[in-house]
Symmetry: C2
């Protein structure tokens, strides 16, 4: 790797724009590929309001997502970071293809379980690093202006397992700018840990009409259902080879109690009419459960009820 690595962020929404800003401040060359706000970002760059200080930046290259990127042939990316929403009708491999050459490390900062295979299969010879972001960051109504509210921690590792020098390099750039990074020998295990919370609460919030956490936990039977759903997730995780700590459900309930008015990301997507990562977060868990013959009647009920909604 040369001194100033070139990083291409594909899908520079709030999360992509934010982590791009961090890498830019760390000294990387950062190009972005985006659909919304292209004109504003091409002209003015990103304004990033953050407790981490000034993170506003003008990307080294600004490209249209899904556009004709013929001018990119001479842009060799050291890292392509894919921050695109994981949706059934989005071909993420196709979206990153223009930026991937031999040696390009592919990095996913995305939600969900078992989301790596379509990308891994399309690029079997490129290193694949999988990341989870724990962050509150939003786009504002002003194009190109990002509001970093809090947090920002990343968990990352090679998929399906291992930590390489590529991971350490990435971690170092993030850490020098104030982002906590957990280098994970098993990033799949990290995904299961996050799934214990996300898989029940994100889809439930949609069935509950965009409800906040207190509305869910305090409804009659709410906490009991949340615990039962989490137990289904941990049973699938264990059968999948990732037994989780015994107290993980208690800890998740306790931490959720501390955020009563909080609406999770899928609730916000639902209320805003945006596409939701239901398959990545819930459908893939149910699919793994089916392959491993683990009964998940509650998760399945929620999955099908949501499918009935969207057919």
């Amino acid at each position: 790797m040369n001194d100033k690595p070139h990083i291409v962020i594909v899908g520079a929404g709030a999360i992509g724009a934010f982590y791009g800003a961090v890498l830019k401040r760390a000294g990387c060359r950062v190009s972005v590929v985006l659909r919304s706000d292209y004109d504003a970002v091409a002209e003015h760059g990103f304004t990033v309001n953050s407790p981490l200080g000034d993170l506003s930046y003008k990307p080294d290259g600004v490209y249209r997502k899904g556009g004709n990127n013929a001018d990119t042939n001479d842009v060799a990316a050291d890292y392509v970071i894919c921050c695109v929403k994981v949706l059934p009708d989005t071909d993420r491999a196709a979206l990153i293809t223009p930026w991937v050459s031999a040696g390009t490390r592919i990095v996913l900062i995305e939600n969900g379980i078992d989301i790596e295979p379509p990308v891994a299969e399309a690029f079997p010879d490129n290193p694949l690093i999988s990341c989870l972001a724990f962050i509150a960051v939003n786009r504002t109504e002003v194009p190109g202006v990002i509001e970093h509210v809090a947090y920002g921690r990343l968990a990352l590792g090679v998929w399906p397992e291992g930590v390489t020098e590529d991971c350490r390099a990435l971690a170092q750039w993030f850490e020098q700018e104030g982002i906590d990074v957990k280098l994970a020998e098993s990033v799949v295990r990290e995904r299961w840990i996050k799934s214990v919370w996300n898989t029940p609460f994100n889809p439930l919030s949609v069935l509950a009409g965009g409800a906040d956490m207190a509305s869910m936990l305090d409804a009659p039977g709410g906490e009991a259902l949340a615990r039962a759903l989490m137990a289904e997730v941990t049973a699938v995780a264990a059968a999948h080879g990732y037994p989780l700590p015994d107290d993980i459900i208690d800890r998740n309930i306790a931490s959720t109690r501390k955020m009563p008015g909080y609406r999770n990301s899928m609730a916000l997507d639902y209320l805003a009419g945006r596409p939701m990562e239901i398959e990545a977060i819930l459908g893939n868990v149910v699919a793994i459960a089916g392959r491993l013959s683990i009964p998940v009647p509650r998760l399945e009920t929620i999955r099908v009820a949501l499918a009935m909604r969207h057919e």
Copy 2:
């Protein structure tokens, strides 16, 4: 009973107004108690458009539901027919109290499971007849105008079991005007049979955003979930002492396939913003399952998700 029995319909919405019309044409004196449309009905009576012919009528008495019914002391009812929605905050016993004296038969034409006890406990010495209506009938936008679309069959019997002369008299009036009546030795069993369809599909349609039957059955996993929910209902029914026929689920699925664009009553209530009989149709089934230790994880998931919505 005298030649011209006096029947008071408490809650003369579409169903109450319709069955009142039938009894009126059969020669009964029919009074109605209602909230909506009081003025129009007091002045003009009910207009009932029906394939059964002219059923429009002017009730013998028109009273305000929940109003000061001091003038009713001299109105002895032979039958009080309660057609009020079964909602947790509706005290049906209180609503019928002004019309009940010694010897008054109390009749419920209402949906749900285990909806009789609050009324039975309030009037332990009055006969209690429980009915299920299989009918498509709607109020129109014009006050006092009812549209009878199709069907009309009743299943009725003394609660919790038995068929008496009171039941036969009621059945005879309905039948002479073209309404099929099934006299049921076990009306609770009839309620369980109807519950096999209602308990899954009514609440699911709400979670699915007011979806029609085809949207539910044709969603990925939709028919399988419907069958699993029905199996939970039949398991509770069997444990409750009412084993149902082996083919009841197949028959329900087959008949549902014949009504693809149909929206059930709870879906219509949901879309219109009206209160929904979730406890009567779903909550009471889950409660019985709990008492009998029958696992109903899918029904419970739906019940709690709906509660999260309405808290």
